[in-house]
Amino acid sequence: MAGLISRGFLGRRRPAEVESRLPPGQYLVTDFPVLSAGPTPHTPLDKWSFTMEGLVRSPKTWSWAEFQKLPTETFTVDISCVTKWTKLDTKWLGVTVDTLLQAVQVDPAAHYVMAFSDGGYTTNVPLDEMVQGQAFVAYQFDDKPLAPEHGGPARLVVPHLYFWKSAKWIRGLRFMERDQPGFWESLGYHIHGDPWKEERYSGD
């Protein structure tokens, strides 16, 4: 994307191996910024559940204790927030969406997923971008329980999309036939959100 040359701007260059991992317009951070639209929900673990619903033969709900028994994997992934920061090599422990899908029979008509969270947050992701290890529900970050302000007890992580798609405080997935905008997607943010295509805002 061409741009007006900014008089006197040289920029801060990173080593090529870092630069090549930063999507267009992004900059590197080493801390972990927090962004959310409202107060952080604090759901006690004995009240927490995770539900797969919508276009499935019969919905499935796990309690926190049951969810902990699901097979986990560790993931080391780069994450990019639409507010421009990218954090490399973040380390998570969680359950892949593939594992969760084994517990339900999804209707072949389902092509999209709406993730929903405590506090009413929602975000939409195409179903084919949730499978084959592309998305997971994480409850540990850096070998520690996921902090509430970062989405704990559990958050969705879809590292190949902008981080607003990685719904904090997730409570379930709803399977849908047609794509529908979630919270930010109906407030001017891109319906898909691929950082490498710089799909930040509606119309990008």
């Binding site: 994307m1 741009g3 007006l4 040359i5 900014s6 107060p39 421009k84 805002y201």
Partner: protein, 247 residues
């Protein structure tokens, strides 16, 4: 909701005004100006001669009533890449690429009504100032209070304007708190925002308050949690946060 496609445009810097030692306000004239909603932000993009680019988001400080132009207030981050350029290199007459306005949740307009409680930590006051300027431009009278926490008196952005607004508008009050060095003779708050302080400031509004809260993550987390404990409905609390990042 119909969304406009946001395109990059080259704004012309028409004025640069120091606000505090670390913050400056930049006025840009935009060829394709459109009215923003107070609380929204713009993206700024810098391009080096070899094509290298970087972007940041900055809150709009001006009211949408100022047609054709835009004011961004930016804090200079010591080891930052963009804010030192804006502070140290940019001069009036220069062009700056921007696109916006962006964001549709942390916004307040007169039509949303009050009572309105604006809570700021540090440069988190910027989007709240856009709301206050819009409210003043519309001569709106819904009861409004601002609670603004700063480290020292020198760190307060828009101090004179806030004092003048409070002096001329009976429906607006501002409460400052200083966490490190209050001004000489200061008799007001001199601590981090806590439950007692929030209780005092929110009292006349009680649970009807519409709260907009912007500042560093720790402040926003603490204040939002306290407001929830005070049983303010969560849908009345809108937050915007910035961490140590955001250079």
């Amino acid at each position: 909701m119909e969304q406009p496609v946001l395109q990059w445009q080259a704004g012309t810097v028409t004025a640069i005004r120091p606000e505090t030692l670390k913050t400056k306000s930049f006025t840009l004239e935009l060829p394709k100006w459109m009215a923003h909603r107070p609380g929204q932000h713009y993206d700024v993009r810098l391009t080096a001669p070899d094509g290298y680019q970087t972007q940041r988001s900055y809150s709009i400080a001006s009211a949408p009533e100022r047609m054709g132009e835009l004011e961004l207030t930016v804090e200079r981050i010591e080891d930052g890449e963009v804010s030192p350029y804006l502070h140290d290199v940019l001069v009036p007459g220069d062009q700056l690429e921007v696109r916006g306005p962006i964001g549709g949740y942390f916004v307040w307009e007169v039509s949303l009504g009050g009572p309105l409680l604006l809570i700021a930590g540090g440069s988190g006051v910027v989007p709240l100032m856009a709301m206050l300027r819009h409210r003043a431009a519309q001569h709106a009278t819904m009861p409004t209070r601002m609670l603004y926490s700063s480290r020292t008196a020198d760190d307060v952005i828009y101090r004179d304007e806030l004092d003048a607004l409070a002096a001329s508008d009976r429906t607006f009050e501002v409460f400052f708190s200083f966490t490190r060095q209050p001004p000489t003779g200061w008799t007001g708050y001199r601590r981090r925002i806590d439950a007692a302080m929030l209780g005092e400031v929110i009292k006349p509004f009680d649970k009807r308050a519409r709260v907009y809260l912007c500042g560093p993550t720790l402040l926003v987390e603490a204040v939002a949690n306290t407001l929830v404990q005070m049983e303010l409905p969560t849908e009345q609390i809108r937050t915007e946060r910035f961490g140590p990042s955001g250079a």
